[in-house]
Amino acid sequence: MAASGAGKVSVLLPTYNERENLPLVVWLLVRTFQESGNNFEIIIIDDGSPDGTQEIAEQLEKMYGSDKILLRPRPRKLGLGTAYIHGMKHATGNFIVIMDADLSHHVSLYFIKQKEGNFDIVSGTRYKGNGGVYGWDLKRKLISRGANFLTQVLLRPGASDLTGSFRLYRKEVLQKLMEKCVSKGYVFQMEMIVRARQLGYTIGEVPITFVDRVYGESKLGGNEIVSFLKGLLTLFATT
């Protein structure tokens, strides 16, 4: 039987205005972990959401216990990278799962894959196997595939999906990567994989389904595309 610390998962959930989604995501996570028997904790990092996300998080904490639901809020919107750093400080698991707190990511476990190859990182991919999307129009799919193609040509990252954000990391691997990565937004997720390859970490991939945001608004627009290209070129020139 494994020691109590072995195989504990810390899920980091940075939230901003996720009042509708948060209870559903937490419920799904709890159920998945209970079914698989993993020891887990969910760390909710709310950046001062005005819609009452923190209040609902407190209800969830009472419901599931403060050993399972950890509230580590911040006063205002401070960015995803720092949210992960903040969350990791309080994480007691030896694996860290990073996922969007919206319902874009189907909640499922990557431990089977991780054990399969003893990977340092397991990344979800929309582009391989039976991974995919739902609710995307042709334009969005084209932009996604085009951007990914450009990324593959320029960076040769060895992973098929760089901008997805459903990943499992060994804790020490994530800590090392957070030290080295400097980008923001989408590009930050990409930089993590690129640096991981440089540092020789192993990356396993699992097909995931990306269902269009059930609640809330999607964050893809002209600005995002421009900043993606800028970020891609920066990574191209610096890694």
Binding site: P23, N130, Y134, L138, R145, V214
Partner: protein, 102 residues
């Protein structure tokens, strides 16, 4: 020495591209631009001269074909979406029962 032995680690992708282009570019220039002392058969030189342009166009076609193919085979996950809706229903019902005030 370690830099030479592990070019991946030491050089940026941009650096690799520039090196590669410089290498290929100088080889092409050496062979195709009629340097004195090197006598290649005329047809070979005629083929070499527009080669960079041909390669660029070929790469462009390859890119279009690849992105087009990947776009066409981008999976639409109907089942997953339906399953998710089911999960959401179950979650809301259970949470309400447990006293969550939405």
């Amino acid at each position: 020495l370690t830099a030479a032995l592990s070019p991946q680690a030491a050089m940026t992708k941009l650096g690799q591209w520039l090196c590669g282009l410089a290498l290929l570019g100088s080889a092409w220039a050496a062979l195709a631009l009629e340097p004195p002392g090197l006598h290649l058969p005329a047809p070979l030189r005629q083929a070499l001269l527009p080669l960079p342009l041909y390669l660029l166009v070929a790469f462009g076609c390859y890119s279009l074909a690849t992105v087009g193919y990947r776009l066409a085979t981008f999976n639409d996950c109907e089942e997953a979406a339906a399953e998710l809706q089911e999960h959401i229903r179950a979650a809301r019902a259970d949470l309400q029962q447990r006293g969550l005030r939405f």
